[in-house]
């Protein structure tokens, strides 16, 4: 049985000291071990930006793709081999700017992968520009007078896009985050976890202290029920999206792979490629 240490490698992350992403890395490693995975059974597919480097910092199969496209790559991996556990990971620029279309369509498609966004409300690697998650009035290099665009309400977006597992966490809550990732991996279908992962260098507003002050844990809200989508939407609006925990889960909806006719007994990666002569002749005859 692998332990979280087996998911560590000897690469030193190039994240700034204090970056929230360290905890996300640790949480993925712990969750993977806790659900009983071996490193070779896990594929981490990441985007571009500081957070995108995460696929190189976990000892497992890793694919560091192009900006905004971690999700389609990850879905392709899962379609080719459903025996693999696939985690897509990236930042708020990846998921909510350049790759927003993929985020929405992955949610409604519901292929069984887990998507973790390290949301720091800023573009860090390009040295401090506004993000679609930045608050109105947020001053950055690209918004010197303060951002005038509304931030995207991603949790509400996930609910309306048809996501079947919607959760949010804060990177310092390592225990809660690990547990959510475990649940997400075990969920049959697309799982989305947005993690507030503060940028200590460029975001001086949404700091660790700011989140501690402003976040509410769903488990502290009396009567909260993650199977109730209406309640989930209401709560998100009430708390301006600043809640953590499992927001919504639909356990009834089958994942995409199970709904494709004829798909799936043998993973495509292990399937026989050559057509039989009979099948070939049958296909040819249809054109005569």
């Amino acid at each position: 049985m692998a332990t979280f240490k087996d998911f560590r490698n000897n690469v030193k992350p190039n994240w700034c000291p204090g970056c929230g992403d360290f905890s996300v890395q640790a949480a993925i490693q712990r969750a993977a071990a806790n659900v009983g995975l071996e490193p070779h059974q896990l594929a981490v597919i990441s985007g571009i930006g500081c957070s995108g480097r995460i696929s190189g910092y976990i000892y497992s199969y890793g694919f560091h793709g192009i900006h905004g496209r971690a999700l389609p790559i990850a879905q392709g991996v899962k379609m080719a081999n459903q025996d693999l556990t696939v985690i897509a990971a990236g930042g708020d620029g990846d998921g909510f700017a350049i790759g927003t279309a993929h985020t929405i369509h992955s949610m409604r498609r519901n292929i069984d992968i887990t998507y973790i966004v390290m949301d720091n409300q800023i573009y860090g690697l390009t040295k401090g520009q506004t993000s679609p998650r930045s608050d109105v009035g947020f001053k950055t290099k690209s918004t010197p007078q303060g951002s005038i665009e509304s931030p995207l309400s991603v949790m509400e977006l996930a609910l309306t896009a048809g996501a079947t597992f919607v959760a949010q966490s804060f990177s310092t809550d390592l225990k809660d985050l690990t547990s959510l990732i475990e649940q997400a991996i075990q969920h049959k279908g697309f799982s989305f976890i947005n993690v507030f992962s503060p940028c200590v260098t460029y975001n001086k507003v949404n700091t660790y202290d700011w989140f501690k002050e402003n976040l509410t844990k769903l488990k502290d809200i009396e009567g909260y029920d993650p199977s109730d989508k209406k309640l989930a939407m209401q709560t998100l609006m009430e708390y301006n999206g600043l809640v953590t925990g499992l927001i919504y889960q639909n356990k009834e909806q089958k994942p995409y792979e199970e709904l494709v006719p004829g798909f799936g007994e043998v993973p495509l990666a292990k399937a026989e490629l050559k057509l039989s002569k009979e099948k070939f002749d049958e296909l040819v005859a249809e054109f005569m």
């Binding site: 560091h64 192009i66 879905q75 379609m79 798909f263």
Partner: protein
């Protein structure tokens, strides 16, 4: 008696013009004739002139003909738009309903046939198409009962009565022409065909069948003209084979999803046309940099931007060879016939895995949508070659938290490959420059070594028949060079030039990139002049040839970019014109 003729049916889009052509063509194909059909259509669902031109011959034909023998018209626009194509002595069969007129003084015979009226009497005006087929059969001296089988296949699911009515419509059409109009011209009787059963398919069918034969079991694509038939075929066939097609949100998702599936060990691909390929450029670079196999089919149409979505063009060439930022190894192959479209698609999947790079199958609208009789496809020739993909048992022990050298520097530049899930194969993949284990690295020496390794892979590329050659003359006056669907028109123009005493050789390039310098150079060397025939405005193929082998002073471009395919006569006449102008010889 004729051994070949051209028939065209025209009317408004959405009026059943396509199915009329289908019933006519499939029947003749089953009788053993060789056919070549080309549709004129617009980017709209209903309305607008559309036509289906079908050439029928007792011998193999590879393109549309210059002129037209028989035109079936359901409206005046069809006559006005197509009249110029009719040869002297040609025939128009027009629906009496619209009061057809033709220009005075022409040597074309117009026959008004009450297509709609006869059909309505039989129950529904929808069958006017069948009446027209019947009238056509009378001209060609074909018995109406020959259409029974195809009518049954086409309308059987609507019930026996519908089949009976449609057959009656065909008979009535034939009868009207013979008995009411007294039509009988033995010069238009069609010679008997050999009765051989052959396939009748569009290039996109062959590409789709090729992909399935190659073991492609996953496809991600976004609908676009003229590529959609490929994904539609796989959507129909993959459930039986355990695979899946995902219609993605855009072409970026399509290409990257295919990359993900290939990385994970499936054979996966996407297909699109110019606008989609433009969106895929960054993904193509990712495939090249991460050495992940990827097959993309580009069915070229009129560009730039939305351009001419339903028209013929070959203007993506340079973009397909050089498109994507930075420098990667890439293979571009360009089949010139439906048969080659099948074999080259199978080969594309082999090359993608052997050389671990993107492979583009370059088609064009005429090849992709032109429907033609196809010689038998060989099952025995289908090979599955996966290159340096290792069996799990052969992957050496990785050791404690060790990484597999996925990007190992090797002599031929190709590294052993593993797929996720293999116990000892753990490695990292990134579009960032990386070392042998896939770890990001900016070190100058590593950069140079990895760059050279990737580019070295294609130095010794093996590809069967890189250039289709007809080099029978030692010192030809003209060497024609073309690619993809211009092959038929060039071959027919050659025949006519040869009859005039001009010595002509022909090279049709099948492996576009890496460019087959060694094959092309000697062909150009011995030719007095080279005419490069292509469907674009800037002579992209001609420039590519000059860039690779020189001979700029010998090369003359023959270009067409009005959206319509080259006709043999245009190539013949233009080549003669070049001669007169002293451009040649």
């Amino acid at each position: 008696m004729v051994n070949q003729l051209s028939w065209k049916v025209g009317g408004q889009q959405g009026e059943g013009i396509e199915s009329t052509g289908e019933v006519f063509a499939i029947t003749l194909n089953r009788l053993g004739y060789y056919l070549y059909g080309y549709r004129h259509f617009s980017s709209r669902i209903k309305g607008g002139h559309t036509n289906n031109k079908i050439r029928v011959s007792t011998k193999k034909v590879r393109t549309i003909s210059d002129d037209l023998d028989i035109l079936v018209a359901f409206d005046q626009e069809t006559i006005d738009f197509n009249f110029h194509e009719l040869r002297d002595g040609g025939v128009i069969l027009a629906d009496a309903k619209f009061g057809p007129k033709i220009p005075e003084g022409s040597n074309v015979s117009l026959y008004s046939v009450p297509f709609t009226e006869i059909a309505s009497e039989l129950g529904t005006s929808l069958m006017k198409n069948m009446v027209a087929i019947g009238a056509t059969s009378a001209i060609l001296n074909l018995d109406p009962s020959l259409f029974q089988e195809v009518v049954q296949d086409t309308y059987g699911r609507k019930g026996e009565q519908v089949v009976l009515n449609n057959m009656e419509a065909i008979r009535k059409g034939a009868q009207y022409l013979k008995e009411e109009l007294g039509f009988d011209r033995s010069d238009l009787y069609l010679e008997k065909a050999d009765g051989q059963k052959r396939m009748f398919m569009i290039g996109n069918d062959a590409i789709a069948l090729g992909a399935i034969a190659a073991g492609a079991r996953f496809m991600a694509a976004y609908p676009i003209t003229p590529a959609s038939e490929i994904m539609e075929y796989l959507i129909k066939k993959l459930p039986d084979l355990g695979g899946a097609v995902i219609q993605t949100e855009d072409e970026i998702a399509a290409a990257t999803m295919a990359i993900g599936a290939n990385y994970a060990g499936a054979r996966a691909f996407t297909s699109s046309a110019g606008p989609g390929l433009s969106l895929m450029m960054e993904s193509i670079g990712l495939s090249g940099m991460t050495e992940t196999p990827l097959v993309i089919v580009d069915t070229q149409r009129g560009g730039p931007s939305t351009g001419l979505p339903t028209k013929q063009e070959q203007s993506d060439l340079m973009a397909m060879i050089y498109g994507t930022h930075g420098e990667i190894p890439k293979i571009v192959i360009a089949p010139s016939t439906v048969e080659e479209a099948f074999y080259d698609t199978v080969e594309a999947f082999n090359l993608a895995e052997e050389y671990q790079c993107p492979v583009i199958v370059l088609s064009d609208l005429q090849l992709s949508l032109g429907k033609q009789t196809v010689e038998p496809l060989s099952y025995e020739s289908i090979q599955i070659r996966r290159g340096k993909l290792l069996n799990e048992e052969l992957v050496p022990e990785a050791g404690n938290q060790g990484y597999f050298k996925r990007y190992e520097i090797t002599e031929d530049g190709i590294s052993p490959r593993v797929i996720p899930g293999m116990k000892n194969g753990i490695h990292h993949v990134t579009g960032v420059e990386h070392d042998e284990t896939g770890k990001p690295s900016e070190a100058a020496a590593n950069r140079k070594a990895q760059m050279e390794k990737r580019l070295r892979k294609l130095e010794q590329i093996e590809f069967n028949n890189k250039v289709h050659k007809n080099d029978k003359h030692e010192e030809p006056d003209i060497l024609f060079i073309g690619y993809i669907s211009t092959r038929g028109a060039i071959e027919e123009a050659m025949e006519r030039l040869e009859e005039d005493g001009v010595k002509v050789n022909h090279a049709h390039i099948r492996l576009i990139h890496p460019f087959p310098k060694e094959e092309i150079r000697p062909l150009i060397e011995k030719a007095k002049q080279v005419i490069v025939v292509e469907h674009n405005a800037t002579g992209q193929l001609a420039n590519l040839i000059k860039m690779n082998v020189g001979f700029a002073d010998k090369i003359q471009s023959l270009l067409k970019y009005d959206g319509n395919p080259f006709l043999p006569n245009e190539i013949y006449t233009q080549s003669k014109e070049f001669t007169k102008q002293g451009v040649l010889f």
